[in-house]
């Protein structure tokens, strides 16, 4: 068995893994990326539309272009990259971690390292998860799979399409499927507001006259071998008044009903998960409950913009360097979500350092305010022009903004949206 030893190994070579790896390598530590696919880039490789990099590079790139910049950086820094290698069961043996990489190229690899960065991304929720009744014919795809089939493999998965869920991938696929010459009959969304970014609603639906059915669900699927049609019903028909169900004749259903961090190997390594995010619970350094194992990107929580993934992952890479250097974190206190906040990350903050937070709102609101309190004392109040669940909010809390804290108290930081 081939033995491989590194200061740090990054599992997953998407935008998160690459950004973290570059930071670690820049600091002079030995570091490798293990990626199961044949190329670095992760989900970005199939996102051939533009809109990436507006924050990070201040220009508009396609997914593969955005990825390419990091792939180049990974090459320049001479990082070891193991492609077509899948990581299975991580073992935590105190100061050393170890795991196996399965590969048809390298055979079985045994890695040992002082730290691990989890950057495995997320998976899509599927029909079973939303429990749509009806038959189980072919023609039901998750939107991300369809995106992969069309954009990378060049396969068209149907002719008459209905899309369930107005998440970004669903919206982008509505436009993409129109472009490849199929007919998109509509997008069905259970919530009274769209789940994706506003710009995607405009550019992918409005511009193509694709109907968006808000407050509706697909209540039934039929077709014996292949999908033949679906019933679209208003939510809560009783009070729906004159709104009635209607049928759409389609041969394909694309599901864009949410993403879930893919933490199977994290769980096996003993990492504690947060039920709100589906990702790991992390301290101010993005370190999980297992010492030396860090997490960033979509495996930590689902991001809507890759720019935030990059930013978060670079911070994660820096934290790994501190850890490898033996710098102790010092004081850390808990963070909790307050009014109208689904979750806030990280789950701990460091009052002696600069902190960056990401939070997911629970409400749609214009002219909202972000309010951050420590032990009930307000430390930040900030205007937010518009909040909605599909758009993540981020903010920084600098050392100077944190009042002196008594170590005898809980010093819990609470974030709310008013």
């Amino acid at each position: 068995m081939t033995e491989k030893k590194y200061d740090s190994v990054i599992i997953g070579g998407g935008s998160a893994g690459m950004a973290a790896a570059c930071r670690i390598a820049e600091a002079g530590y030995s570091c490798a990326i293990v990626e199961r696919e044949t190329a670095l880039g992760g989900i970005l490789n199939q996102c051939i539309h533009n809109g990436f990099g507006l924050h990070h590079f201040k220009e508009e790139l396609t997914g593969p272009e955005y990825a390419e910049r990091f792939i180049q950086a990974v090459k320049d820094k001479g990082l070891d990259v193991y492609l077509e290698t899948t990581v299975m069961d991580i073992e935590d043996t105190g100061s050393m971690k170890s795991f196996y990489g399965y590969s048809s190229v390298y055979g079985l690899l045994h890695f040992s390292c002082r730290s691990i960065v989890l950057a495995m991304g997320c998976r899509e929720r599927n029909r079973g998860n939303i429990g749509t009744p009806g038959t189980r014919p072919s023609g039901i795809f998750t939107a991300g799979l369809a995106q992969r089939l069309v954009n990378i493999d060049g396969y068209i998965p149907g002719k008459k399409i209905v899309i369930v869920g107005s998440g970004d991938i669903g919206l982008i696929m509505a436009r993409r499927m129109t472009w490849v010459g199929t007919e998109v009959l509509g997008v069905v969304e259970i919530q009274p507001y769209p789940a994706g970014l506003t710009r995607n609603i405009v550019q992918c639906l409005t511009d193509f006259n694709i109907p968006l059915h808000l407050s509706h669900v697909v209540s039934k699927i039929w077709g014996k071998e292949r999908v033949e049609g679906v019933r679209v019903s208003p939510v809560g028909t009783e009070e729906g008044g004159n709104r009635a169900s209607f049928d759409l004749d389609c041969d394909t259903l694309l599901l864009s009903v949410g993403l879930v961090p893919d933490n199977e190997i994290s769980k096996k390594a003993g990492v504690d998960l947060n039920p709100e995010t589906g990702g790991a619970l992390v301290d101010s350094r993005l370190m999980t409950s297992v010492e030396g194992i860090f997490a960033c990107g979509n495996v930590l929580h689902v991001h809507d913009l890759v720019d935030f993934v990059t930013e978060e992952s670079q911070r994660c890479g820096e934290a790994v360097c501190h850890y490898l250097k033996g710098v102790a974190p010092g004081r850390q206190y808990r963070t909790v979500s307050g009014a109208n906040v689904k979750y806030v990350l990280p789950n701990m903050y460091n009052p002696d350092g600069d902190n960056r937070f990401y939070l997911r709102p629970l409400v749609v609101k214009n002219g909202a305010e972000l309010v951050v309190k420590i032990e009930g004392r307000e430390v930040i109040r900030k205007k937010l022009r518009h909040v909605q669940p599909s758009e993540m909010v981020s903010f920084t809390l600098d050392r100077e903004e944190i009042p002196s804290l008594e170590s005898s108290r809980g010093n819990t930081l609470e974030t709310g949206i008013l």
Binding site: Y102, L108, E124, R127, G131, S138, L145, R148, P157
Partner: protein, 490 residues
């Protein structure tokens, strides 16, 4: 051509497959006819996968006798055929003293039937056997001989063994006509193919009544009884160590909590009389029912863990017993109809029983000296330790390519499935478990499409989920653009 088969078996579910394998031990020409493009695509793929404990039915019924016999045969069968099977035991949980009275009756029935090790339990014993049970349990029954099996793998391995010993399998052979001339049956398919045989076995599940008609044999009606089941993630908190039954009502065993052999949890099935033999749709109402009643047994059952749902139709006959007999109107035909639960459990015994009936009907059975009951086990990367894995990958690098990440299935296993004739997405799924985990194929479908194309030479639009009509891909991007590009430029 004088290619006359000794026996033609119609239907390659667990019943037909068990019969075929049993007959393959003798010097006979046997053909197994199946209308679908793969075996086990009927009821035998959509059920609870329980090897029953022999206490649900009274000793006077045929199904009860075959259930007990079949159950005992599973250990030997698994040693030869390597399908996933575990004798995890069965519990029946009583939640009131009223229910406990029924449990006592079941216990007496089990003792009478000869259910090995059956035990009447008080509350403490029940909770120590299964701490996840509802604390309100007052007592119950423990049948340690009960178990769980992966039903399609059982059927696949039975068929593989039968074929290895000379049985011919014809899939996509939908029987729609039978001509009887003298001592010969001429059985024809919708595609116009005909096979000729001296004996025939009707193991057509839901269609056994129609097949019987084609032979001008007994008239009976198979009524589908629908069962919906919900499958939950391997990490579900509700995973129990034994199968948990409620106390049955007079016409149903009730809805259960099942720890599958592969480590997922399943709840169901419902029981609903329907008309349409093709109605495989799940409904919202039943979803509520299943979860309500599963939670009564095991409170930690949660709908948040669902990964998929499916429907199976029980091929029920009036009277609810199996009908396995030599046809009185057509004496070279053996009927194996009405094989509803415990059909899976009884299958190995049905194989024996039908063999004996054929003998009675005049078929001469002469043992084959070179009969080999065992098939080769297929190594599966998720089941082996790293050292074995390393050796496997060294010998065949595609064992290192993990195609299905949720269930850890390698490319080598998928190629093996295709080589064994499972060339649809569902066939590969049932043989390997790829696409069966929590992402339900979201990550691996495109990879499997590629492997099928490479191994079979099919083009992507010829690949189906489970046979004709269930296509996946309509065409390629740019097929029409290429046309316009050349048109514009040149």
């Amino acid at each position: 051509m004088s290619s006359v088969y000794d026996v033609a078996i119609i239907g390659a579910g667990v019943t037909g497959a068990s019969i075929a394998r049993r007959l393959s031990a003798y010097k006979l020409r046997v053909v197994l006819l199946e209308k679908e493009c793969d075996v086990s695509f009927g009821v035998s793929k959509a059920n609870s996968g329980i090897i029953h404990g022999g206490f649900h039915h009274g000793a006077s019924t045929l199904k009860s006798r075959l259930e007990i016999q079949g159950n005992i045969m599973f250990d030997a069968l698994q040693r030869d055929l390597h399908f996933p099977f575990r004798r995890c035991g069965i519990l029946v949980a009583a939640l009131s003293f009223e229910e406990m009275k029924t449990v006592e009756k079941l216990y007496m029935q089990g003792v009478q039937n000869g259910s090995i090790g059956i035990e009447l339990c008080n509350r403490e014993r029940m909770l120590s056997l299964e701490p996840k049970l509802n604390r309100d349990v007052v007592g119950g029954l423990h049948a340690p001989s009960g178990g769980i099996v992966e039903p399609y793998r059982l059927v696949f391995s039975l068929v593989e063994s039968a074929v290895k010993n000379g049985v011919e399998l014809k899939t996509k052979f939908k029987v729609n006509g039978v001509d009887i001339t003298g001592e010969r049956f001429h059985i024809s398919s919708v595609n116009g193919e005909t096979v000729t045989s001296r004996y025939a076995v009707n193991a057509a599940g839901l269609r056994a009544d129609e097949i019987s008609k084609l032979f001008k044999a007994e008239e009976f009606t198979i009524s589908p009884r629908k069962g919906e089941e919900y499958l939950m993630d391997r990490n579900a908190a509700a995973f129990t160590s034994r199968v948990i039954f409620p106390v049955p009502s007079p016409n149903s065993k009730g809805m259960l909590v099942i720890p599958t052999v592969e480590g997922t949890t399943m709840v169901g099935p419902t029981a609903e009389e329907i008309e349409d033999k093709e109605d495989l749709a799940t409904t919202g109402d039943n979803f509520e029912k299943v979860f309500y009643s599963a939670r009564r047994l095991v409170p930690s059952v949660s709908e948040r863990d669902i990964i998929t749902a499916f429907v199976g139709l029980r091929p029920a006959l009036e009277g609810n017993d199996f009908y396995i007999a030599i046809s009185t109107k057509c004496p070279k035909l053996v009927q194996a109809a009405g094989i509803q639960s415990p059909g899976l459990t009884a299958a190995p015994a049905i194989g024996e029983y039908v063999k004996d009936l054929l003998k009675k009907a005049g078929l001469i059975l002469e043992e084959k000296p070179n009969y080999d009951p065992a098939i080769d086990p297929l190594p599966r990367i998720r089941e082996v330790d790293p050292f074995t894995a390393e050796k496997l990958i060294e010998k065949n690098p595609s064992y290192g390519n993990i195609v299905c990440r949720c269930e850890s299935i390698s490319e080598a296993e998928i190629v093996e499935a295709i080589k064994k004739g499972h060339t649809t997405l569902d066939g590969i799924k049932f043989y390997t478990r790829a696409q069966m985990g929590r992402c339900q194929g979201g990550f691996c479908t495109y990879k499997i499409l590629k492997i099928i194309q490479r191994e079979t030479g099919l083009s992507v639009d010829e690949i189906t989920k489970r046979g004709a009509g269930s296509w996946e891909i309509t065409g390629r991007v740019g097929e029409f653009q290429i046309f316009s590009r050349t048109g514009g430029k040149e």
